[in-house]
């Protein structure tokens, strides 16, 4: 059981770092925003593994839900500017 949790933690950490690299280095702006939302979503699963369900709920609802939509609202109003 403990080994399984450890493997899951390593997998989540690797996926988070990969998604963060996509968010910073990727060429397309919408994909970068989605990757940042994915980092938050994976982080909320990690919080659950670290026995903090309160923080996991907050991160899933606010960090990965609402923040991503804020970015898309603004990005939708700035057509043409995102390739600078």
């Amino acid at each position: 059981m403990s080994g399984l949790l450890l493997a899951l933690t390593i997998l989540l950490a690797a996926a988070m770092i990969g998604a963060a690299l996509v968010a910073i280095l990727g060429k397309s702006m919408p994909i970068a925003i989605l990757a940042a939302g994915l980092v938050s979503l994976l982080a909320s699963v990690l919080f659950l593994l670290l026995a903090s369900p309160d923080v996991a709920m907050t991160e899933a609802a606010i960090g990965s839900g609402l923040t991503t939509f804020l970015f898309f609202f603004i990005l939708g109003r700035m057509r043409g500017g995102e390739h600078d």
Binding site: M57, A61, I62, L66, L70, F73
Partner: protein, 231 residues
């Protein structure tokens, strides 16, 4: 090029500090004094099953009041910054919303808001609470905003909910000085049985008000951002 080099140099310094922290870190074997106090006294003093809620609402209640104030200021500044020179809604020509989308969103939005209410009413028993419930309510409002962009969301309702819940929050906090031990004391109401819905004194009431206020603030931020005109 020099800019990137300087950035990498700074990052190398920070990384060295982080590595030092990571390799000298030793997890505690026992709870420290503060955490031990909260773990041992919450059930007897406050009566809330969720210790995080007891800390957020009662032990560190003043911090939460400050946090809600910061959120209110954020919502106000976002409104102020985006308010100038906004076009009227009627100028936008959008295709009418399809029947399926309209009915579906009208069916789902109240259910999502109900889930948010459930989360913050049970904040002292289960994981969750005012902030999570508020965010869920705001996502219900987001569904309404996305499904029907032509409909102007009533800012008056959002503002009223926000002000009234904020006023009641501060009012209950002040009542604590008169009727109980101090500002934001939860012993206004009887402590009740650990694990019941109506227990933990005023915590369910305070957390519900926080949930309504946070939900209204997030909804106001989302509505302002979605009403910005296309540049």
């Amino acid at each position: 090029m020099i800019r990137k080099f300087a950035a990498l140099l700074i990052l190398a310094g920070i990384a060295a500090i982080f590595t030092g922290l990571l390799f000298t870190y030793e997890p505690d074997a026992e709870l420290n004094t503060t955490a031990r106090y909260y773990a041992e006294r919450t059930a007897a003093d406050i009566g809330a099953a969720n210790i995080v809620t007891a800390i957020v609402v009662t032990y560190r209640g003043l911090d939460t009041l400050g946090e809600v104030t910061v959120l209110f200021l954020t919502a106000a500044i976002v409104g102020l910054v985006l308010a100038r020179g906004r076009r009227r809604k009627e100028d936008r020509h959008l295709a009418p919303v399809g029947e399926l989308l309209a009915t579906g969103s009208r069916f789902l939005a109240p259910l999502i808001i109900l889930l948010g209410v459930y989360v913050f009413v049970n904040g002292h028993l289960t994981p969750g609470g005012g902030f999570q419930g508020g965010a869920i309510i705001a996502s219900g409002v987001l569904l309404i905003l996305l499904a029907d962009p032509c409909r102007c969301l009533s800012h008056r309702i959002i503002d009223t909910v926000e002000s009234v819940s904020g006023l009641f929050y501060v009012g209950i906090a002040l009542l604590g000085i008169v009727l109980a031990g101090g500002f934001l004391d939860s012993h206004l109401l009887p402590r009740g049985e650990l694990g019941d819905l109506f227990s933990a004194g005023a915590i369910p009431l305070i957390y519900s008000l926080i949930g309504l206020k946070v939900g209204a603030e997030f909804s106001s931020i989302l509505a302002h951002l979605s009403e910005t005109e296309e540049l």
